[in-house]
Amino acid sequence: MINKFKLMLGILMATLVFAANSHATELRGTGDLGLVIERADGSVLIVEHSTDTILGRVEGFGNLSHASVVFSRDERYGYVFGREGGLTKIDLLTHKVVNRIIQAGNSIGGAISQDGKLVAVSNYDPGGVKVFDAETLELVANLKTDSKTVGLVDAPDSKFVFSLYDTGEIWVADFSDPKNPAIRKYEDIGIQPYDALLTPGGRYYIAGLFGEDGMAMLDLWNLDAGVKRIMGGYGRGEEKLPVYKMPHLEGWASADDVLFVPAVGRHEVLVVDSKTWQEIDRIKVHGQPIFVMARPDGREVWVNFAIPDNSAVQVIDVLSRKVKATLKPGKAILHMEFTPRGEKVWLSVRDDDLLKVYDTRSLKELKQMPAKKPSGIFFTNRAHEIGL
């Protein structure tokens, strides 16, 4: 009897040990994994979007009030950029922090190079961009600026491009020779660039300006042409409205040869012809747009909003340029992330402490999962997208 009991106890313990380590021993891919920032506790969830499940939580990331993530090209590792200057490399398979450094006092985001060998971080304090070896997180280059840096993206031909908020500049850093980056600076590009994006394919770098109307565009295929001002009517326009939250430009939508962009402070999504860079339409929406993101097939554009309208998400039909649905998923929708081919979208519902998954065709909620004040959601397929 005692022996039997011992045997059963042994089996039970073995099972428990196996269960605890199963994510480390079981063979699996990472193409359907992702990371979700839990900003309140400085933790990160490892998630999986084939069956919409939370696989685990990794803690100890510090202040994640503004955090973003890029992935290694093998989609195994995530690099988490935290507000307090932390750069953390996390293994999505073992759920372990592989490496962590505090590289500045205050940071805004990061990028990974075209070849996946360098990770760059955009810093507010001290201002500049630091570039690290993606494998070891050893410092490779330190590009010091007299300004907060924003809108850092990777671009083809081993480049990082970023903007200087305080001094109104765009810098293009060519890392063909990582130890000796060649930097080209463009000055007087506009007042207070606050974020930027790279158009799909990586040709145009466009910085949104907070301090004036319009945007600054640099054609990376023709660097000698310099920075051009586009969309003079874009922005807050004649009526200066309080902007309760900065729009994010990474999520700009490009669909049907037009870009859908958030108007700064206005309750509008602007539609811009991506050939002429003229504004061709304005779509009235529920609030001040923050993320304006095309579903991966480009057929729809999803929009979330700043406080006090942040409990809604709207879906814009690209052909008719009309709002086709308004969803109310919960309190404070901070971020949206589509599955790689767009059949589902995950939403972070910060003030309800939930992640919600929606079917993008039926617009029905499929699932909800608890998360602690979730913000950014990042799926690993970003690893293979230029500018993300």
Binding site: N63, L64, N106, I108, D125, K148, Y244, M246, I307, D351
Partner: protein
């Protein structure tokens, strides 16, 4: 709060600033006084539900720019030791009317004087710790 002391502080400040800004400050002050007079008690407390809402707003929404622990970001740090030399009135004004030329918006469209007084109290207490 002692309005006289505050006025003196403001005048001292004003001496160092250019005329345009002084004018702006005067307009802002007038506006704030006008708004305040609509309330019987500037330091009336929001009810407990509203307090919870404001606490979350301060941490999460103000925190988007000023840092979750208010150690700074795009916006300046707002830790108690950093704001100790600024009077309640100046802080309240700044939150209600924003800072022109920066991303700091005027919150008066969303928050009442009571709300903002409560937020300033939380800032003084350093209420945003590591919870």
């Amino acid at each position: 709060m002692p309005r006289k002391r505050n006025l003196r502080t403001r005048l001292n400040l004003a001496n160092k600033m250019n005329f345009r800004f002084v004018t702006l400050l005067a307009v802002v002050t007038t506006a704030v006084v006008a708004i305040s007079s609509g309330f019987s008690d500037l330091h009336a407390k929001p009810d407990s539900e509203r307090q919870a809402y404001l606490g979350n707003l301060l941490k999460q929404d103000c925190g988007s720019c000023h840092g979750l622990k208010l150690k700074g970001g795009l916006g300046t740090p707002l830790r108690p030791e950093i704001i100790k030399d600024r009077s309640d009135e100046v802080l309240i004004e700044t939150i209600l009317t924003g800072i022109p030329g920066t991303p700091m918006p005027a919150w008066k469209g969303l928050l009442s004087n009571e709300d903002v007084s409560w937020i300033v109290k939380l800032l003084r207490e350093g209420a945003i710790k590591s919870d």
